[in-house]
Symmetry: C2
Subunit: 200 residues, 2 copies
């Protein structure tokens, strides 16, 4: 989907989305553990790229991290700033995250690439790689599938990604894949997470 | 490798293996978390199948689980019984684990299938499935690889397994794969773990 389509779709459903999915308390314990542990391994500024309601950004800030949240959707950014006044939020897209080259120790992109047309994912990963210093880390969350294919996500079309295919795109963008986790929870679409280190 | 070859190889190096790998303190924190969480989700007797030095069996027992350790190698069973006198250990192989059908809530098979010739893995999984009650769970640990292929493991030939290939064998044996975790630690062979539920 185009940036404007995704933005429009989330703008329309921002309040509903925030109430359903905008709290860390409603997330899976294993996701909390993974995100917490990943951030604890990093020393330096973090970015929550595609922060949506800002709950993970706030979670990282509460853990003591220097973190900023960016999102495509101004309605999310405005509400996140309201809900979590101690945390900086701003509007940005994967075309340009507005971060100096190698300026970050890590980026969390939690279900942030899911609406990108698959052939636009490599350039988004290039932008993520540009912002992360060598040795820094990226944590991706996405929907696990047996092939790269679209599905009717509640908000706007999203894509399943096999972790192997995502890992290949990550390696092409200058990352070394360190961890891959997949999980199937009853009544949910299969989940995948990848931790990848910026190598150069 | 045949049962007798694997047993002979481990018998020869049992003390060295115990001193290098026989303590939970030397394991990876994520493995401890995974095994602990998996066991906490189960209610009923557990089996540590291929328990080696018995450290995971002891770990589970300390957490309050009803657990028994079995191993192919009598030298391991003898030393495990000596090291952890509160825990039951006995000699058994994947040909016959010596457990009544559907007698267990869960089986831990942590790096226990790695020396099996790949075409013998399905029958071992059938035996694991036989012992686990419907709704019970299997936790497998193994070496992650891009294809099923042998390598010169320090003790005796072992095999890499792609998690997708192992998942396929698990499904054929009556399991539903719930979680797949892979990890690459510096200086180690890639690791994989799968949690699979016995469906029928």
């Amino acid at each position: 989907m185009s940036i404007s389509e995704v933005r429009a779709a989330y703008t329309e459903r921002a309040e509903e989305y925030i109430s359903l999915l905008g709290s860390v308390a409603d997330t899976h314990e294993l996701d909390r553990e993974l995100i917490t542990r990943w951030a604890a391994s990093l020393d330096g500024p973090l970015l929550d790229a595609g922060c949506g309601p800002g709950h993970w950004t706030d979670h990282l800030r509460r853990l003591g991290h220097d973190v900023e949240g960016v999102d495509l959707t101004p309605a999310f950014v405005a509400r996140a700033a309201e809900r979590f006044p101690a945390v900086p939020f701003r509007v940005a897209s994967f075309d340009d995250l507005g971060v100096p080259a190698a300026g970050l120790a890590g980026i969390l992109a939690w279900y942030s690439l899911i609406h990108l047309e698959p052939d636009r994912v490599p350039s988004a990963l290039d932008e993520l790689a540009r912002c992360i210093r060598p040795g820094g880390s990226l944590l991706l969350g996405f929907f696990d599938g047996v092939s790269i294919e679209p599905f009717a996500h509640k908000v706007v079309t999203a894509y399943f990604w096999p972790p192997t295919a995502m890992a290949q795109r990550l390696e092409a963008a200058g990352f070394a894949v360190e961890e891959v986790h997949t999980r199937t929870d009853p009544g949910r679409r299969p989940h995948a997470a990848i931790i990848a280190r910026r190598t150069s």
